[in-house]
Symmetry: C2
Subunit: 256 residues, 2 copies
């Protein structure tokens, strides 16, 4: 029986949407323009599929064809750029505390939130040293590596720990113990868990109702995270996170 145009695949189009997001995700500040060949290689999809996805995104202004075979993010993103930046913004007070923290530690300061089984930075103030930690805003990172991840896990429901352990094929017990110990200390320190040579100190930002909203982190090269400095970083980060918790994180709280 011939299928009509109304026919959908079994997944209800989920796969097509995911592919379109995969294509869009390949564009970043170091790759603002991508060739069709690039996109085919990076997605592993047939060329005809990539062309079809790109044409659809182009028709709606999400991609712009900069030549016969190259694409860039289109101006329509400005609409969401404006919206996302206003929704996910931290307060001026939070920003000021973050900058003070940079002044005190010299290292990069981030505010991370949990996004399902991942975490993303929503605000960053860069450190002052030439060799500094820089992460892209809004890009999902793992929830099982690093001080920031441990702090965010400590604020997650147990149900999430179970899902995470299941998804990653990990034992639940050690995960629960880690979370319990992070809850007790109220901060976390990590060295080279996510990236070799990268260290971080993180503490939780709490809502007035006791929910954990986000994690405040200071991160930089492991060589500068010496024992005496870490003691100072922990004090400073915990105090800064408490000040942000007291005054409120900003409009973004509505979504956390």
């Amino acid at each position: 029986m011939a299928r009509s145009d109304e026919t959908e695949p079994h997944d209800g189009g989920v796969r097509s949407i995911t592919r379109a997001i995969d294509v869009l995700t390949l564009f970043d500040t170091t790759h603002p323009i991508r060739t069709l060949r690039d996109l085919v290689a990076a997605t592993g999809l047939p060329k005809t599929t990539v062309v079809r996805v790109c044409s659809t995104l182009e028709a709606r202004g999400l991609l712009l064809r900069t030549s016969e075979t190259t694409y860039a993010p289109g101006p329509v993103f400005l609409r969401w750029a404006h919206l996302a930046a206003s929704l996910w913004d931290v307060s001026d007070h939070t920003r000021a505390v973050m900058r003070e923290l940079v002044d005190k530690c010299g290292e990069t300061v981030n505010v991370y939130v949990r996004q399902g089984m991942e975490r993303v930075s929503i605000a960053q103030e860069e450190g002052t040293a030439t060799v500094r930690s820089v992460v892209p805003l809004g890009v999902p990172m793992p929830l099982l590596c690093g001080a920031t991840a441990r702090v965010l896990l400590a604020g997650a429901p147990n149900e999430l720990l179970e899902r995470l352990a299941g998804a990653e094929g990990l034992d639940l017990e050690p995960l629960i113990r880690t979370v319990a110990s992070t809850r007790e200390t109220g901060y976390a320190v990590s060295h080279g868990e996510r990236e070799l040579g990268a260290s971080a100190v993180a503490a939780p930002i709490m809502a007035h109702d006791g929910r954990m909203l986000a994690a405040l982190s200071v991160s930089g090269p492991t060589s500068r995270f010496t024992a005496d400095r870490i003691a100072m970083y922990v004090d400073t980060v915990v105090t800064a996170a408490r000040r942000i918790s007291d005054q409120g994180l900003g409009s973004v709280e509505a979504f956390l």
Copy 2:
């Protein structure tokens, strides 16, 4: 014959991607949070379809579920926000000329680019009066109404005029005449074409190779666009557009 999970509908998933974009487009600064009911009503799609689209977008961080039945744009948009804002930015010089133009005219100044058969504002400096023109950045607007549209059409290839006339069911001849006359005068003035009571004066921003890159416009309430003021606005806008053309529009030129 049973269809496998690999089966795609005849349109190759185009419709699913378009639906996902339709859903995302419903979020703006006045509607940062939308209920499922809202989304179903606005898209006219079955609830199960909207739920599936939203779940897919949620899984990838593009939407965030703020409650059982409400959604908001997710933090992953920050990644593209940053990227789009840096790619589509106009130069500091352009920004300064735009602000001078606001100072001189008191009205809102925009830089519009053509996007296929539509136009979008990529930069805006708001006017100083209480009643002022404000358009959202990156939101497609028609290419057949208004002074800005006429200026952009004057820089478009004839093939586009044919497509546009075909798509809108218009006679090609009058369209070509309008374009020819706009090319001759080098600016355009409109009153209430796109929106009743809204007037605009626009002039082209050109690349050094003679291509038209964008249109610079001054817009505001028709009641303030009196004959003598319009003469001044035309002079001022044409001069400002020429200054921007001379110095370059900014990094965005690479995409135009």
